[in-house]
């Protein structure tokens, strides 16, 4: 499958994270293959099937791994050469931390000290407050629930006020309320002008925290940009839309006449499922056609324009 890209205009000097032809292989295993993109401020979701190379790519972005080929720059500098740039990156890894015997405050404070902050305790308290945990909680991390662990990992990642925040699967194990709070936090970071890169499997949640995605499959970048626009580019796959109205037959004929749909199927007494390859045109035409034929619209619902459908299409399953 050819890569779908909206990136030509978006790779600009304002990109905070810039990859050019990045590949990474371990022996004969190709984990990341010739990936190029630019990511600016805001929330970007990194998506892909398990084993597609997401974690490797995140490690490269954070300077934890060196690309076998190509270059990756953060704010124009190579994070593996420039220590100052490394200090502008914060990461929360997917795996559970190994610091089980520390308290939350000690753990975040340790990160603050490693970054050489002048007031590590204050910084740690601030970061813990950001993630809505209690800095005075003296229990060790081993007693923390999954949700608390996720949040303390995030606190550790943002304690030094980085510009680029990389979060690997930060939503797993959170309950719906905690997820909501976490997503609100992404938005706060994004509003503060930071570049937030989040990998996640929970596509319904990704749809809420931003529409900008990078999709990796088999180590290659297969799409980037606003997923709604990516969907519009998938013109070899007609979009299916369910329409309920008081006169489905009349509406079907009207839509067929103006040539915006390529197929239609009557379902329930009042429901019609149409397929169209020019969805923008269809959306403009449907209200007009209904008005002109005095058809009352009860419901218009696209059946496969959600991120999940886009994802399936892109990863080829």
């Amino acid at each position: 499958m050819s890569a779908i890209s909206l990136s030509s205009t978006e790779i600009s000097p304002t990109s905070m994270v810039q990859a050019a032809g990045v590949s990474k292989w371990f022996g004969d295993l190709v984990a990341v293959s010739d990936v190029s993109f630019g990511i600016g401020a805001g929330v970007t979701a990194l998506l892909g099937p398990n084993g597609a190379g997401k974690s490797t790519l995140l490690r490269i972005i954070c300077g934890l791994a060196r690309p076998s080929k190509g270059t990756l720059t953060i704010l124009g500098k190579d994070p593996r050469r420039d220590v100052a740039v490394l200090g502008r990156i914060g990461m929360a890894p997917q795996q559970e931390t190994l610091w089980d015997q520390l308290s939350g405050l000690e753990f975040v404070q340790l990160a603050a000290q490693l970054h050489g902050l002048s007031h590590p305790v204050e910084a740690a308290r601030g970061a813990i407050a950001m993630v809505e945990l209690d800095a005075d909680d003296e229990r060790s991390l081993s007693t923390y629930s999954k949700g608390m662990r996720q949040r303390i990992k995030l606190a550790q990642a943002i304690v030094h006020d980085p510009l680029v925040v990389v979060l690997d699967e930060p939503l797993t194990g959170l309950d719906p309320r905690q997820r909501r709070a976490m997503i609100a936090l992404f938005h706060r970071l994004s509003d503060a002008g930071k570049c937030v890169i989040v990998s996640s499997h929970v596509l319904d949640e990704v749809e809420r925290f931003g529409s900008r995605v990078l999709v990796i499959a088999q180590g290659r970048l297969v799409a980037e940009g606003d997923f709604h626009k990516i969907r519009d580019l998938m013109d070899d796959r007609p979009l299916r839309i369910s329409i309920r109205s008081n006169q489905p037959r009349t509406l079907a004929i009207a839509l067929l006449e103006c040539g915006v749909i390529s197929g239609c199927e009557l379902q329930d007494p009042d429901a019609l499922v149409v397929s169209t390859s020019d969805v923008m045109f269809f959306r403009r035409a449907v209200a007009l056609a209904a008005r002109d034929h005095q058809v009352s619209l009860l419901e218009i619902r696209p059946l496969d324009d959600d991120l999940e459908s886009v994802f399936r299409y892109l990863v080829g399953q």
Partner: protein, 305 residues
């Protein structure tokens, strides 16, 4: 399949449970019927405790609990013979072959050895691990382990299946396959399922009904269909300036609220036609028009306050 139509699969009345001074369940009442039931709750709301009580692992501190018609604490072993359980954690013995593990668990649930071997193999095919069944579990990916857990819960043909976060760690495609399998088990195999999950969309997709725990009691329980309330207004999304559309609709007497790029227009006899005409007039594209539904998330947030 629960043949007794009258008896609920799980019945709880005033169930209480504490660990020392930590009161986890404070009088829980619910009735779980046949089909697929979602179990939701914030972290710490008592889901794991409830599952422990259903399995009969702990005594409760009051109330009535009956699972498949028996008290799990009184007749735990006999009840567990008819239960299948897939725990949340992913660690399974790494040096054991998937087929051996599933067979062993099936035998523990009372199946004769030959039949256990046969059904273990079938169950692994069913979950899509047929080719991998002789691999040590330690060499398997998260997705494959989730399926091994499913197979071991399923192989002995339980009457009730308890699944704890069965899609945790799966990517979207694997998750879809797992949900399809769960749906198939619930409908075609005729096994009742209690599915604990944090992902509301997942529950909405496969479950018939839902139980939401909040603060140690049942905050909501009922069929998912009951959540639809078409009276709550119409949700509209357009290609174009949502704010402009909202302003024009309001000028024409509609009640409109806007959040992100989606408008909610209060129901009235003429609301739908008004939206249609206004969108047509403004030359906008109509992306979406649907009755506003109370989502599971709305309910969840409401009861978890």
């Amino acid at each position: 399949m629960s043949d007794l139509i009258d008896a609920p699969v799980i019945f709880a009345e005033g169930v209480r449970k504490s660990y020392g001074t930590n009161h986890v369940l404070l009088g829980l009442d619910c009735e779980v019927g046949s089909g697929i039931t979602g179990l939701l709750g914030a972290n710490g709301a008592g889901k794991s405790t409830l599952i422990g009580l259903i399995l009969g692992l702990r005594p409760r501190h009051g109330g009535v609990l009956s699972v498949l018609g028996v008290d799990p604490h009184q007749s735990g072993p006999e009840l567990r013979l008819r239960l299948g359980y897939a725990p949340e954690h992913h660690n399974l013995p790494g040096d054991v072959q998937a087929a051996d593990l599933v067979q062993h668990v099936a035998q523990l649930h009372g199946l004769p050895k030959r039949i256990a071997t046969e059904r273990a193999s079938n169950a692994l095919w069913q979950v899509g691990l047929g080719e991998e069944r002789f691999r040590p579990i330690g060499t398997m990916s998260t997705g494959q382990r989730q399926r091994v857990k499913m197979a071991q819960a399923l192989a002995h043909d339980p009457d009730l299946l308890l699944l704890d976060e069965p899609t945790d760690g799966l990517d979207p495609v694997q998750r879809d396959a797992m949900l399809a399998l769960i749906g198939q088990v619930g409908s075609e195999f005729g096994i009742d399922i209690l599915l604990s999950s944090h992902l509301l969309e997942e529950i909405e997709r496969v479950c018939d009904s839902v139980v939401i725990l909040a603060n140690g009691v049942v905050g909501y329980s009922g069929a998912l269909d009951d959540l639809d309330s078409p009276e709550a207004g119409m949700r509209v999304e357009v290609d174009g300036d949502s704010q402009l559309l909202a302003d024009v609709l309001e000028a024409r007497g509609a009640e409109v609220s806007i959040q992100h790029n989606s408008l909610t227009v209060s129901s009235s006899a003429t609301a739908n036609d008004l939206i249609r005409d206004t969108v047509a007039e403004l030359g906008m594209g109509l992306r979406r028009l649907e009755p506003h539904r109370t989502t599971l998330e709305d309910v969840f947030i409401e009861v978890s306050k």
